[in-house]
């Protein structure tokens, strides 16, 4: 029956805590999606910049969440990869914030 099927499900929700590594990657993924949307709007000269601002903000929140995960002192291959990913996320956090700041000025200057 259903219960037996659930018990065999290897990736079911009830499996326990999510690894830090997966949490970092999940925040990366979410941030990537939000910032990609922001960029698509932002790259159009006449795109609605106010919307881009909102998507950048969401992406920034996700990057910050991903960066707040402490991967500890481990030096294993996976940990090293995760740390490199976090370093790239940190770079994009700074660049997104810079872009957001600039856009916020453009938006407030032109429409209000």
């Amino acid at each position: 029956g259903t219960a037996a099927w659930r018990a065999k499900d290897p990736v079911g929700q009830g499996q326990g805590q999510v690894q830090d590594s997966d949490r970092v990657r999940n925040h990366h993924k979410q941030a990537f999606e939000y910032i990609s949307v922001a960029l698509r709007i932002d790259e159009e000269e006449k795109g609605p910049k106010l919307q881009a601002v909102e998507w950048y903000k969401r992406g920034i929140v996700e990057l910050e969440r991903g960066l707040s995960i402490d991967l500890g002192p481990g030096t294993g291959e996976t940990t090293e990869r995760d740390k490199r990913l976090q370093a790239k996320m940190a770079t994009n956090l700074v660049m997104s914030k810079d872009r957001l700041e600039l856009l916020a000025k453009v938006v407030s200057g032109s429409s209000q």
């Binding site: 990736v11 990657r25 960029l39 660049m95």
Partner: protein, 62 residues
């Protein structure tokens, strides 16, 4: 046929890893936990690189 089920996991992962590294593609892989490690990470890494270069391009335009 069960051929696909018996393909060694490390072989599959190695191949995916290579593809992701070389193409830098957004594969959107949803692999089960525990198997997604290195593949998921190199895709993620490439995605962050993509954001960096697009943000840099915008920055240099202004």
């Amino acid at each position: 046929s069960t051929t696909t089920l018996t393909t060694p996991q490390n072989q599959v992962e190695g191949l995916l890893h290579e593809m992701a590294d070389e193409a830098g593609l957004d594969l959107n892989l949803e692999l089960p936990q525990g198997q997604s490690g290195s593949v998921g990470n190199s895709v993620a890494s490439a995605e962050q690189d993509e954001l960096s270069s697009r943000l840099a391009k915008l920055r240099d335009q202004m």
